[in-house]
């Protein structure tokens, strides 16, 4: 086919620029918003997803990890005695107060874990070792939260509910959704920092033996325990994600912004392609008079839309990658998995093709007799 679509698209540079601006805007907005959504999603469930536990024991009806309720730690023995359990550990996640060297206090989430366990540990450790958490008053913090915690590096000290906390390890990139940073410590310290009694725990993490069906184990444990829920890692992760993203409305707000971006893209592209079609209406009428079918003319218009989509996507995704990269240096956590990038190409093409339907409707109604009107 002679390059009618391409030439019509590139002929008017201003209109092309407007079209591409609309596509780029839509791509960047959608990618950033969906990237935020993915980032939020991963952040809200990070502790659960990275726990390496097959099962979680939580107090009855606890909807998400930040709302744990203390229960008797004796249930740990019942769990360990259950057939199919390879390892079980108490685990604490609780809000408490961090007092900086300058006296300012910040809310944190203390995470208490057995340093010798395979489960519930800090990850992305960039300084220190897990074994260092065996020491009294030892904590791991994340470098992102240095300013918030008033910490500059290893060896710095602070207070948690009147008790000393010394930084013995650092992580990189462990974010929280609540703005209260995770501070990892050993279980013994965490009882004190979280004002819990020795006979209390917040959660129990469970590792199944190799070859054991996790769901069967979950049911057996649930049958043997009272006043608690036994959840798979995935279940607890989904519950936590659902609460933060949907019950609070945060996720919906992000998704709505993405939908808005899509709508803006459709409207802008529809308007410019329609404007181009109107400018070339006589040509389409001539094509019809020459014997072109409606399908042939649709192909010309669709080709215009797809070319605009591909160029706009290339520009938009490049800009999005830049935005994602820069956001990593700040507080926002925008994640761009390759699936989102690839999916965005499909969505961009679909957006532009949908926008072109307005023009298609117009050319369908062209009266070819118009070509005789000088």
């Amino acid at each position: 086919m002679p390059p009618l679509a391409e030439r019509n698209l590139f002929h008017d540079r201003v209109r092309l620029a407007v079209t591409l601006t609309g596509v780029v805007f839509a791509v960047v907005l959608i990618v950033v918003q969906l990237g935020l959504y993915v980032g939020f999603s991963r952040t809200t469930t990070a502790l659960v997803d990275m726990s390496r536990a097959d099962l979680w024991v939580v107090s009855k009806n606890v909807p998400y990890i930040e709302q744990g309720i203390p229960f008797s730690e004796r249930k740990l023995y019942t769990v360990r005695a259950t057939l199919g359990v390879a390892e079980a550990q108490n685990y604490i996640v609780r809000f408490t107060r961090w007092k900086r060297a300058d006296g300012q206090e910040e809310a944190i989430q203390i995470v208490g874990v057995n340093p010798e366990s395979t489960m519930g540990q800090a990850w992305n450790i960039v300084a220190g070792r897990r074994e260092d958490l065996k020491v009294d008053d030892s904590v791991f913090v994340d470098r992102i939260y240095f300013p918030k915690l008033g910490v500059r590096g290893l060896g710095d000290t602070a207070e948690i509910v009147g008790r000393r906390a010394r930084v013995v390890g650092l992580t990189q990139g462990i974010r929280t959704f609540t703005t209260s940073p995770y501070v990892f410590t050993n279980y013994r310290n965490a009882l004190d920092y979280a004002n819990l009694r020795e006979d209390q725990t917040m959660f129990i993490l469970i590792k199944a033996q190799a070859g054991v069906n996790v769901e069967d184990l979950r049911r057996r444990l649930q049958a043997g325990l009272t006043d608690v829920d036994v959840l798979t890692r995935q279940q607890f992760s989904d519950m936590t994600r659902h609460y933060w993203l949907y019950t609070t409305g945060a996720g919906m707000a992000v998704l709505m912004a993405a939908v808005l971006g899509l709508l803006v893209g459709v409207v802008v592209v529809a308007q410019t392609i329609y404007s181009s079609t109107m400018d070339h209406l006589r040509e389409f009428g001539t094509l019809k008079a020459m014997g072109a079918t409606n399908a042939y003319i649709y192909k010309v218009i669709m080709r215009q839309a797809v070319i605009a989509a591909v160029i706009g996507y290339a520009l938009g995704i490049s800009l999005s990658i830049l935005v994602v990269h820069e956001s990593g240096k700040g507080g926002a956590n925008i994640v761009l998995p390759w699936q989102l990038g690839v999916g965005m190409l499909g969505l961009t093409v679909a957006m532009c093709v949908a926008a072109a339907f307005v023009s298609i409707n117009k050319v369908t109604k062209i009266d070819p007799a118009m070509v005789f009107k000088g």
Binding site: P2, L4, A289, T293
Partner: protein, 248 residues
């Protein structure tokens, strides 16, 4: 052998009731192969309506229209594009070239509609342009061509699909007379040497000498149908077409 164009009791009425306007009124007409028929009449006489119906672009209110013996008034809307593509070439007053395509690509577009693509189509397109004396202008855009050259590209495009019928609506109206003579000479050659049925709608009395037949229409009716127009001085036509190569 059937006439390329045969029209019987053709009527076209726009609107209805008291405001109805009868653009064509029981028109009977046949166009022969190898004939240049001039359709002449004042503005509003029905010329454009008639040529639109002959081109299967407009539907008559009643009557019969046969293109190469096939009754087209009974065809569905989706069948008419194929009738136009296979049988009819159009030449317009305003040239109607695609401004963003080169002269060669304009001709290629017609071939593309018939499913002819690639290097072979390019060669054919170049051939048609050479036949109208515009081979060197293959890569020129319409904006870089004179009016006469644009109309010659339009002629090349119209004949590229090898139609048996060529309909030209005021083909010389936007041209100087020298260019107009060249264009009319080409249309005459299409008819006489290549056996096409050529219908030319025109106001211009100067083109009468190029017609084999003049049909005058007024108020939607055929006034007279003369097969003896003023004789054409062939030598004067040839002397003004020095840049034109014969259609093959």
């Amino acid at each position: 052998m059937e006439h390329p164009i045969a029209v019987r009791e053709l009527t076209k009425v726009y609107g209805a009731g008291p405001t109805a306007f009868r653009a064509l009124d029981t028109v009977n007409l046949e166009v022969e192969r190898g004939e240049v028929m001039l359709l002449m009449g004042p503005s509003g006489s029905g010329k454009t309506t008639l040529i639109s119906i002959l081109g299967c672009i407009l539907r008559p209110t009643s009557g019969s229209v046969k293109i190469l013996g096939k009754e087209v008034t009974r065809l569905g809307e989706k069948q008419l594009p194929r009738v136009r593509l296979e049988n009819i070439g159009f030449i317009f007053q305003g040239f109607n070239l695609f401004p963003t395509l080169t002269a060669g690509e304009n001709v290629e577009l017609a071939l593309d509609l018939k499913g002819q693509r690639g290097p072979a189509a390019k060669r054919r397109a170049r051939g048609f342009l050479e036949q109208v004396g515009l081979g060197p202008k293959y890569d020129s855009f319409p904006a870089d061509l004179s009016g006469g050259e644009k109309q010659r590209v339009a002629i090349a495009r119209a004949v590229a699909t090898e139609p048996q019928v060529v309909l030209a609506d005021e083909p010389t109206a936007a041209l100087d007379w020298h260019s107009g003579r060249t264009v009319m000479g080409m249309l005459r050659e299409l008819a006489h040497r290549h056996g096409r049925a050529v219908v030319v709608v025109t106001h211009d009395n100067r083109v009468v000498e190029y017609g084999d037949r003049v049909v005058r229409i007024e108020d939607g009716r055929i006034l007279n149908d003369s097969t003896e127009p003023a004789p054409l001085d062939e030598s004067s036509v040839i002397s003004n077409q020095s840049s034109v190569v014969s259609f093959q």
